[in-house]
């Protein structure tokens, strides 16, 4: 009898765990997208720590890095790796600076279409505006605590390299908790945002290029 009770308990636990982790399609994505847009409108700055895991299936290797992320409307972004290397990308309007272990290189996104696309995608991924664009076809899922957007590129150049992007949005405030870029080869890069702070003042020096 006791053994039977234990078996029933285990079965119930497994069923409830399965229910928690199971994702279901979002019934009305348009309402969700509205909420995401509202978040984007209400948010003027985002600061967060991040960890990045790059999985290389061919080499059977995981490369782990971490850093700090800053975003300010409309187009100010600083993506800075602090470990295991020092590397930063600063977007300031149409200007981009890459700082690689102390050495800087500047690019003009305004005159370089590729850089313009990259800067639009990076800011769009962070503030959620990428979801509203036509560059991707998006399917939405939800589970306890989060929504997941599976974004398949429509642009030919991106399609040749990227299988899809997955964004995990926090159900509490619709901010991005995780960003996963899956390459056609099967490799992926998973970025997890931690210690997020919204609408706090960011010193101008963080984004300054002059």
């Amino acid at each position: 009898m006791d053994e039977m009770r234990i078996n029933i308990l285990m079965l119930l636990t497994l069923i409830s765990l399965e229910a928690i982790s199971q994702e279901t399609p979002v019934k009305d994505p348009s309402k969700l997208v509205e909420q995401v847009n509202l978040f984007s409108q209400k948010t003027s700055t985002i600061t967060a720590d991040f960890t990045q895991v790059k999985e290389m299936s061919f080499l059977e290797e995981k490369v782990i890095s971490s850093g700090k992320f800053y975003f300010q409307k409309e187009k100010l972004l600083r993506w800075e790796y602090t470990s295991p290397f020092s590397y930063a990308i600063i977007l300031n309007g149409d200007r981009i600076r890459i700082i690689d272990e102390g050495r800087s290189k500047d690019f003009d996104a305004g005159s370089n279409r590729m850089f313009l696309e990259i800067s639009n995608i990076m800011t769009g991924m962070v503030d959620g505006t990428l979801l509203a664009g036509s560059q991707f076809t998006t399917t939405w899922y939800e589970a306890q605590g989060y929504y997941r957007a599976v974004m398949i590129p429509n642009v030919a150049a991106m399609k040749g390299y990227l299988a899809r992007i997955e964004l995990k949005l926090n159900k509490e405030d619709y901010s991005v908790d995780e960003l996963k870029m899956i390459e056609k080869s099967g490799d992926y890069t998973l970025i997890t945002f931690l210690n997020k702070k919204l609408n706090e003042t960011i010193p101008a020096a963080i984004f300054r290029l002059d």
Binding site: F58, L59, E61, V63, D100, T189
Partner: protein, 164 residues
């Protein structure tokens, strides 16, 4: 008019030589910690090595990391990727083999051309066979304290450095 054989073969040899020299190494320059890189590759003592890498061709620069992992039987798996996580290419390198010493596993479409692949493979071959004591071939002096650079006659170069 009947062609004579010896001049004909001389022409063929000259043509073959010219084609081969398109991709042949112009110079290998090194300095400082670059000796550590060349020693590691030539003695094949590492299991895994991760270097900063810059591929330069016709004023276009591709920077990132080169991860080289020994898998056994003298075979190395190589990945060239950038800090943001984008994989440029992955492949297998067999230093002791004959002609097919680099086998591409995957490469981004923008780089998927014969010249780039062949040049990259040629540079890798040189890095694996470089001997510090042999000294650099005639060419430019070492650029940076820790940089190992292989330059090909077609203008392609691969620079490797130990991350700080």
């Amino acid at each position: 008019m009947k062609r004579s054989l010896p001049p004909y073969f001389a022409w063929i040899s000259l043509l073959a030589f010219a084609l081969a020299s398109c991709c042949s190494v112009k110079s290998v320059s090194s300095g400082g910690k670059a000796g550590e890189i060349s020693d590691a590759f030539s003695s094949a003592t590492f299991e895994k090595i991760n270097l900063k890498a810059i591929a330069d061709y016709r004023d276009k620069e591709l920077a990132g990391r080169l991860l080289v992992k020994k898998t056994g039987d003298g075979i190395y798996k190589i990945a060239f990727y950038n800090e943001l996580g984008m994989t440029y290419l992955e492949g297998t390198f067999i230093p002791a083999s004959g002609r097919n010493y680099f086998k591409m596993n995957n490469i981004i479409p923008a780089l998927d051309n014969r010249i780039f692949i062949k040049s990259f493979a040629k540079c890798l071959q040189k890095v694996f066979s470089f001997r510090e004591n042999a000294g650099p071939s005639p060419g430019k002096p070492p650029e940076g304290g820790n940089l190992l650079v292989v330059r090909l006659k077609n203008g392609f170069s691969l620079g490797l450095t130990v991350p700080e």
